[in-house]
C-alpha cells in the first residue's frame, strides 16, 4: 500500500516549538497564494516508521548478502564511516560560514585530495563532482578547455571503446564532443590498429577504464598513452575500476592525464539505493588551472577556498560537493592505510579470479585471460542450448537469496553477466554463489521453466516493465 493510502486527514507526526513570534498572514498578491494544498500524506510517527520499515524489508542490500554487481564495487560499507559523517561538526555546518571556522571541513577536502592524488598519481584534484558521470563531464570539460586554451579548435572527437560504460559517451557528448566508438579486439582490449586509424588532429580525448569493463588490464597501456599523446590528444581514466590496482600501479603512471574516481565504489561510501556518490577528478599539473572553482588550498597552516582560477571551467554544482561522502572516504582511507588499500586490491583480484575459476567449470568466460577485480560470463552458448535467458538466470538468483550480477553489459559480450565480488566477500560466500549458479544452470538444462518464470520467493514476482514504459504511471493518483 502506498503512503498516500495510509494517510488520514488530520493525523500528525510533528510538533514545533513556539518561536514567541506572532503568526502573520501572507502579504503576497492573491494570485500567487496557493489555493489547493499539496496532497501530502498525513500520518502519525508510528505510521511513518512502519511504512518505511515495511519498504526496507523489501530491499536487498550489501548488509543482507552478496551483491556481485559488476562495475559497481559493492564492497562492505563500514559502520564507523556512518558515525564519523554524522558528527555534528561535519553535518551541522553551513557552506557559507566564514572559512576560518570551517578549517576542519577544508582539511578533510584538502587531505582527501592529497591522498587520492597519491593513490592515482595525479597532481591536483577537485572533489566537487557528485558521482562518476558527473566527474566524467567535469574531466571532459577540462579536456575541452585545455584544447581551446591552446587555440586548438578542431578537436571535436572523443574516442570511446565499444566496451565502455554508457556514461562515457554520454558525458563526452554533454561536453560537446562527437563520440567515435573504438572497436575492441576479440579479447576485449583496445585494438592498437583501430586506435591508430582513428587518431587524428581532430581527436581531443581517448576515454578508457583500466582494467576495462571486461575486467582485463590493458597491457599495452604505455603504448596507447604514447600514441594518444603523440596525436596531441589527452588520455582520460574512468576510475570505476581502480579497486583492482591500488598500491601497484597508478593511472598517472600509466600516462593518464585526467582521472575520475567513485568514492562510492573504491572508497567504501555506501550506494544509497542509487546515490549520493562522489566523483573526484584528478589531473596532471598542466591541467590544474582548468579545475572547477573553488580549489581548496593550504597556506600558513590554514586551508582556504581559492576562487581565483581565471581559466577554470567554472562550477559543476553548488558549494563543495558531497562533503559527507568525502568524510566517509577519508575515514576509510585512514582506516585502511597504504597497506590496507593495497591488500584490498589484491584480495579483490584474488576473489574475482577464484570465482572465475569456479564458474568457468560450467559457464563460458568471455575472455581466457586472467581477470582483475571482475570478469564477464559469456552466456551465449548457454542461452542457445537451453533457451533460458541470462535475465532469467539473474531473476532465479534472487530466489536463492543473492543479488544478480550486472547483466547485458558490457555490450561487446553477448549475453553478458558481469561479476565483481569485491575484497570484502569471503571464500565461503564465493563457494556458495558458484554452487547456486551451478544449480541454476542445471535447472535450466533439466527444468528450464523453473528458471524462466523466476523469481518466486521475492516480495513481488517478475514485473512487467514493458507495459510500465508503454503506459507509464508516473505517480500515485487517488482512485475516482
Amino acid at each position: 500500500m502506498t503512503i498516500f493510502e495510509k494517510s488520514v486527514t488530520g493525523r500528525k507526526a510533528f510538533r514545533f516549538p513556539d518561536t514567541a513570534i506572532e503568526k502573520r498572514e501572507f502579504d503576497i498578491p492573491n494570485h500567487l497564494l496557493r489555493k489547493k494544498a499539496p496532497q501530502l500524506p498525513e500520518l502519525s510517527e508510528p505510521d511513518v516508521v512502519r511504512h518505511y520499515t515495511d519498504l526496507a524489508s523489501k530491499n536487498y542490500s550489501v548488509d543482507k548478502g552478496f551483491y556481485p554487481l559488476g562495475s559497481c564495487t559493492m564492497k562492505y560499507n563500514p559502520k564507523i564511516n556512518e558515525y564519523t559523517a554524522a558528527l555534528r561538526g561535519f553535518s551541522q555546518i553551513h557552506p557559507y560560514q566564514p572559512w576560518e571556522f570551517t578549517q576542519g571541513a577544508l582539511q578533510i577536502i584538502f587531505e582527501l585530495k592529497e591522498f587520492l592524488c597519491e593513490i592515482t598519481g595525479m597532481d591536483d584534484m577537485t572533489l566537487q563532482p557528485a558521482a562518476g558521470a558527473h566527474g566524467e563531464l567535469t574531466g571532459m570539460l577540462i579536456a575541452r578547455a585545455y584544447h581551446l586554451s591552446k587555440g586548438d579548435f578542431k578537436r571535436h572527437i572523443a574516442l570511446v571503446p565499444d566496451s565502455a560504460h554508457g556514461t562515457n559517451p554520454a558525458s563526452a557528448a554533454m561536453a560537446g564532443f562527437d563520440v567515435v566508438e573504438l572497436k575492441s579486439t576479440e579479447d576485449g582490449l583496445i585494438d592498437l590498429a583501430e586506435l591508430k586509424k582513428n587518431l587524428s588532429d581532430e581527436v581531443a580525448v581517448l576515454m578508457l577504464t583500466n582494467p576495462n569493463t571486461l575486467g582485463l588490464f590493458e597491457k599495452d597501456i604505455t603504448e596507447i598513452a604514447k600514441m594518444v599523446h603523440d596525436a596531441g590528444a589527452l588520455l582520460y581514466y574512468d576510475g570505476a575500476n581502480l579497486n583492482a590496482i591500488m598500491g601497484r600501479v597508478r593511472p598517472g603512471d600509466m600516462g593518464f592525464d585526467i582521472v575520475h574516481l567513485n568514492l562510492h565504489k573504491t572508497f567504501s561510501a555506501p550506494h544509497g539505493m542509487g546515490g549520493p556518490g562522489s566523483g573526484p577528478v584528478g589531473v596532471k599539473s598542466f591541467l590544474a588551472e582548468f579545475l572547477p572553482i573553488p580549489v581548496i588550498r593550504k597556506a600558513d597552516d590554514k586551508y582556504y577556498p581559492d576562487f581565483n582560477l581565471p581559466k577554470s571551467i567554472g562550477r559543476v554544482r553548488s558549494f563543495y560537493g558531497n562533503f559527507l561522502v568525502m568524510v566517509k572516504a577519508y575515514t576509510y582511507i585512514l582506516t585502511m592505510g597504504r597497506d590496507g588499500l593495497t591488500h584490498a586490491s589484491r584480495m579483490a583480484v584474488l576473489n574475482a579470479n577464484y570465482l572465475r575459476t569456479l564458474i568457468s567449470r560450467f559457464l563460458n568466460i568471455a575472455s581466457p585471460r586472467t581477470c582483475m577485480h571482475e570478469f564477464v560470463v559469456d552466456g551465449s552458448e548457454f542461452v542457445r542450448q537451453t533457451g533460458v535467458k541470462v535475465l532469467d538466470v539473474a531473476k532465479r538468483l534472487l530466489d536463492y537469496g543473492v543479488h544478480a550480477p550486472t547483466v547485458y553489459f558490457p555490450l561487446i559480450v553477448h549475453e553478458a553477466m558481469m561479476i565483481e565480488p569485491t575484497e570484502t566477500e569471503s571464500k565461503d560466500t564465493l563457494d556458495m554463489f558458484s554452487k547456486i549458479l551451478k544449480q541454476i544452470v542445471e535447472e535450466a538444462r533439466t527444468k528450464p521453466d523453473i528458471v524462466k518464470n523466476a523469481p518466486y520467493k521475492t516480495p513481488v514476482r517478475r514485473l512487467d516493465d514493458v507495459t510500465a514504459t508503454k503506459k507509464p504511471v508516473y505517480r500515485f493518483k487517488r482512485q475516482g
Binding site: 501530502l40 498525513e42 557552506p95 558527473h134 560504460h165 554520454a170 567554472g314 516480495p459 514485473l463 505517480r475
Partner: protein, 443 residues
C-alpha cells in the same frame, strides 16, 4: 588482516591453488609495478580514526540552530529524529540502483512516492527520482529546454542563485547556448519589460527562481505573459511551494530545485538532492531516472524503472543526460520528511519562517538599515548594511551567530548588502539578540 577483509592465509592458499597459480602477483602479470609504497599513513584502528575525525570536526564551528540567519541555498530547519532513524536503515543505505526490481521494491516504491510528492508540491505531471542538487538540476533543465525547441538563447533572471547560474554555464558551455541575465526592477523582481525586449526568435528558455535569490516572490504570471513561447523553467524552494501557487499554474514547463530544506542537514552543502519535474508531453526529453507503477506476473502491484531508453546505459551519447548514480537516498529522505510533516506541518514551517523573517526584517529596519527591494518576500530578504559588512559578519560569527550572507561575494552592486534568512528555528529572543549584536559598537 583487516577487519573488513575476511581472507585468512590458509584461504588465500586454497584459492590460489584452485586458480592454479602460486602467488597473487601471478594474477597481476600484465600489470606493471610503479608504486613501491603509497605515501599515505599506515592503516589505523577505528578508535584512533574516530578520535582523529572527532578532533577535525571540532575545528568546525557549529552554530546553534536558532542563531542562524543565513540561507542562500542551504537552510537550517528542524529535522525530527524519526527522519534520521528511518532513513539510516541499512536496507536503504547499502542498496544500489534498483536494477533487480523484484528485490528493490522498497527503493522503488519509496521513490515512486517521492516523485508523487514532488508532483504535488510543484503541480507538475512527472518528476524524476532525483538529480545531484538544485544547481545541476537547473543546468539539466536548460539542456532539456534546448532539446525541446533547439534554440540557443537562455534568459536567466539575475535573481537566480549565482552558483546555479555558474553551474548552468559550465554544463552548457559546449552546447553553444548563450546566457542573457535579466536584471531586476526596484521591487526585486525580474524586470518583465527587459525580459520582453530580450526575447528573439532564437530564445530558448526563461529561468526564474521562486522565491528568488533575494527572497522576493516573483510574479510568475507576469513572466509567462511576456515569455509565452519560451520553455519556462522555474527554480523553486519546497517550503514556499506549500503556500505559493505552484509553478504549474502559471504554465511552467520544468520546475527544479534543491531538496535540502526537506530533512537534510546543512552538511557543508552536500549531499543534498535536486528535484526535477516537468509535463508529460516533455517526458521523453527529460533527464534522470523515472519510476513507474506496474504489475507482476501474479497481478500484484509493483514498481520498476521506466522509460530507460532516455538514459545513458541504453542511449549512450544520445542520452538525455549522463546521470547514472543519482541522489536516491536523499530523495527518500525528502519523502520521509514530508511523510512526517504532512501538508499541515509543511505549511506551519512556511508560516513560521515567513513570520520570523518579517519580524527580523522589521527589527533590522528599526536599527536604521534599509531593505534593498520592496517586493513581497518569503523567508529571505536583502538589506543594505555598511561597506565593512564582511568584517562585521565575521566578528558577529565569533559571538555564535551566523549573520546574513555578505552579498558582495556575488554582486558588486550590493557590496554593502546582506541576504538575511529566518526559518522556524529562530526565535524572538535569538532575533533580538542578533539585532542587538548588529548594532553594537566595535562589531
Amino acid at each position: 588482516m583487516h577487519p573488513y577483509i575476511p581472507h585468512t592465509d590458509e584461504e588465500i592458499q586454497q584459492m590460489l591453488h584452485a586458480i592454479g597459480v602460486e602467488h597473487i602477483d601471478d594474477l597481476y602479470k600484465d600489470v606493471p609495478i610503479t608504486v613501491k609504497e603509497l605515501k599515505i599513513p599506515k592503516g589505523l584502528d577505528e578508535f584512533t580514526v574516530l578520535s582523529t575525525l572527532e578532533s577535525i570536526a571540532q575545528k568546525n564551528a557549529v552554530i546553534e540552530k536558532k542563531n542562524i540567519f543565513m540561507g542562500a541555498g542551504i537552510y537550517s530547519h528542524y529535522i525530527p529524529q524519526v527522519v534520521e532513524s528511518v532513513s539510516s536503515r541499512p536496507e536503504f543505505v547499502t542498496a544500489y540502483t534498483p536494477y533487480q526490481a523484484e528485490v528493490s521494491q522498497g527503493t522503488l516504491q519509496a521513490l515512486f512516492e517521492y516523485q508523487t510528492m514532488i508532483c504535488e508540491l510543484t503541480g507538475m505531471e512527472v518528476a524524476n527520482s532525483s538529480m545531484y542538487d538544485g544547481a545541476s538540476a537547473l543546468a539539466e533543465a536548460i539542456l532539456m529546454a534546448h532539446r525541446i525547441n533547439n534554440k540557443h538563447k537562455v534568459l536567466i533572471s539575475q535573481a537566480v542563485h549565482p552558483e546555479y547560474i555558474q553551474t548552468s554555464r559550465t554544463y552548457t558551455c559546449a552546447q553553444k547556448l548563450s546566457f542573457q541575465i535579466v536584471p531586476l526592477n526596484g521591487s526585486g523582481m525580474t524586470d518583465t519589460a527587459v525580459l520582453k525586449n530580450s526575447i528573439d526568435d532564437d530564445s530558448c528558455a526563461v529561468v526564474i527562481q521562486y522565491p528568488n535569490f533575494f527572497g522576493i516572490v516573483e510574479d510568475l504570471r507576469a513572466i509567462k505573459e511576456v515569455a509565452k513561447d519560451l520553455v519556462f523553467i522555474v527554480v523553486a524552494e519546497p517550503f514556499a511551494l506549500t503556500v505559493l501557487e505552484p509553478p504549474a499554474t502559471f504554465g511552467a514547463d520544468i520546475v527544479v530545485g534543491d531538496g535540502q530544506p526537506l530533512g537534510i542537514p546543512m552538511s557543508y552543502g552536500g549531499p543534498t538532492v535536486g528535484f526535477f519535474a516537468t509535463l508529460e508531453k516533455h517526458v521523453r526529453k527529460m533527464p534522470g531516472r523515472l519510476i513507474g507503477e506496474t504489475t507482476d506476473v501474479d497481478g500484484n502491484k509493483g514498481y520498476v524503472m521506466i522509460l530507460q531508453t532516455r538514459e545513458q546505459h541504453i542511449r549512450r551519447e544520445k542520452a538525455t543526460s549522463n546521470i547514472c548514480t543519482n541522489h536516491a537516498l536523499m530523495a527518500v529522505r525528502n519523502a520521509i520528511f514530508m511523510g512526517v510533516l504532512g501538508p499541515n506541518g509543511m505549511k506551519e514551517v512556511a508560516y513560521k519562517s515567513y513570520s520570523n523573517a518579517h519580524y527580523l526584517a522589521e527589527r533590522i529596519q528599526q536599527k536604521g538599515y534599509k531593505l534593498i527591494f520592496d517586493g513581497p518576500f518569503f523567508n529571505e530578504f536583502a538589506v543594505r548594511m555598511t561597506d565593512d559588512y564582511d568584517s562585521k559578519w565575521r566578528k558577529i560569527f565569533q559571538h555564535g551567530v551566523l549573520a546574513p550572507l555578505p552579498l558582495g561575494w556575488y554582486f558588486n552592486q550590493y557590496k554593502d548588502g546582506a541576504l538575511a534568512c529566518a526559518t522556524e528555528v529562530n526565535t524572538k529572543e535569538s532575533i533580538d539578540k542578533f539585532v542587538e549584536l548588529l548594532g553594537r559598537d566595535g562589531i
